[in-house]
C-alpha cells in the first residue's frame, strides 16, 4: 500500500496590481486534463532536477512565465482523491508577487491577468487556492513590507500607499500610513532621486536590504 504514490504538483498564484485591482495570472492549459481551460501556472515536481518544491515553483515560473527573482512564499498544500481526475494528488501552492512593469514575458507566454474579483470558474481546486492566496496576502500585507514587492525597485510614498490600499482592500489615512511605514523600518530614500510624475517632485524610496533578505526569494 505504501507504494501507491500520490501525484505531487506545484501551483503558483502569481499576483500583480493593475490600476487599482489586485490580479492573478491565469494560463490556458496546454494538455489534459482540462486542456484549453485557464488555470494557475503550475507543474509536476521533477525529482531529477528540483532541490525542493520551492525550486519547482521557481522553475515553473521561469519556464511558463519568463520570470525570476520574485518574492515567492509557500502558501499551503491542497490534496485529496477528487481534485485531479488523474488520481489522488497533492499540490504544494506558492504565491508570488510581480510588479506590473515586469509582466511582458508573462503576457508573451499567453497568460491573462485577471482581477481577483473576476476569476472565472477554474479547474482542480484552483479557486480555493486563489482565495487562500488572497487571504494570506491581505493578512501579511497589514504588517509587513510584502506589498512593496509589487512595485518597481524605486517608488514614491504615495505609490507605496496605493499598493497597500489595493492589497488591504481599504483606504488608508496618509499620516497614519507614513507612521506605520516608519515603524516597520523597511524602506530607505534613494540618495538624490526624485519622481517628476506629478506637480511636485516626490522623493524616491526602495526596500532596505534587510527587508529583502527577510523573505524567501527565488534563486
Amino acid at each position: 500500500m505504501d507504494e501507491i504514490r500520490p501525484i505531487l504538483t506545484v501551483d503558483v498564484v502569481l499576483f500583480t496590481i493593475r490600476g487599482s485591482d489586485l490580479c492573478v495570472a491565469l494560463q490556458r492549459r496546454d494538455r489534459e486534463p482540462f486542456a484549453g481551460r485557464p488555470a494557475l501556472i503550475g507543474g509536476y515536481v521533477h525529482v531529477d532536477e528540483d532541490a525542493d518544491t520551492l525550486a519547482t515553483a521557481g522553475r515553473v515560473l521561469r519556464d511558463k512565465a519568463g520570470l525570476a527573482g520574485l518574492f515567492l512564499e509557500q502558501l499551503a498544500t491542497f490534496s485529496g482523491p477528487g481534485r485531479d481526475p488523474r488520481g489522488w494528488s497533492a499540490s504544494v501552492a506558492y504565491y508570488a508577487l510581480v510588479p506590473e512593469a515586469r509582466l511582458a514575458p508573462v503576457l508573451e507566454r499567453g497568460s491573462e491577468i485577471v482581477p481577483v474579483e473576476a476569476i472565472p470558474p477554474l479547474p482542480f481546486d484552483h479557486e480555493r487556492i486563489v482565495a487562500a492566496g488572497v487571504r494570506r496576502l491581505r493578512n501579511k500585507g497589514a504588517w509587513s513590507s510584502l506589498p512593496a514587492f509589487l512595485l518597481p525597485e524605486h517608488f514614491t510614498l504615495p505609490q507605496l500607499r496605493e499598493i497597500y490600499e489595493v492589497v488591504l482592500g481599504m483606504a488608508l489615512n496618509d499620516s497614519a500610513f507614513r507612521r506605520k511605514i516608519d515603524e516597520l523600518q523597511v524602506i530607505e530614500p534613494v540618495a538624490g532621486a526624485f519622481s517628476r510624475a506629478s506637480d511636485r517632485p516626490a522623493r524616491l524610496y526602495r526596500l532596505r536590504q534587510e527587508a529583502l533578505q527577510e523573505f524567501n526569494r527565488m534563486v
Copy 2:
C-alpha cells in the same frame, strides 16, 4: 518523467505543556530507515482511505498516539531529494495541541514527551519541522485563543495565563493579559463552576463555541 512520483508523507509536531516546558512527543521508529531512533509521529498518505493530508494526520494521530479531537493545523511542506534515504520526498507537516491530562494513550504507545529546548538529534529534517512548529505556535499564540487548546476543557484565568507564558516564552502582566483575553472574546465563564485548587475559589472558564469553530479540528 512525469511518472517518477516522489514519496508523500505526513508528520505531526504534537505539542503539550509539562510544568513550565513546551514539549513535543517523539516516538521511536519501528521500521527502516532510522529504525529505533526517536522521530516525529508520522506516516505515508494512504490513497485508498485518506480524504486529504489533514485526514492522514488525523489517522496517524489516532493509530500511533491514541488521540482524536485535537487542534490540528497545517504547518508547511518540507521536501527534497536528501531528506529521506528512500528517495525524493515531501512531508506535509502539521502541528497539534494536546492538554497534558490527555497524554496517557500517547505514553502507552511508547512516545516520549521532550521539552523543545532538549530535542535530541532527529532523523530526516524533523528538527527543522519542530523549529517551524515552535515559531508558528509562538507567532499565533500571541494573538489568538490557540494556547487554550493546551488546557483541559475548564480552566481558571491564572492557568490560562501560565499557558500563554509558556507558549510565548515570557512573563505576562496579569491585568494586561486579562484585557487582551477580554478583547479576543474567546472564553466564557462556566455557570456556577469554581476551582478550589488554591486558597480562594477561582472561576472556571471554557473556550467559546465560536473560538472552537474558528480552527481546524480533527474529525
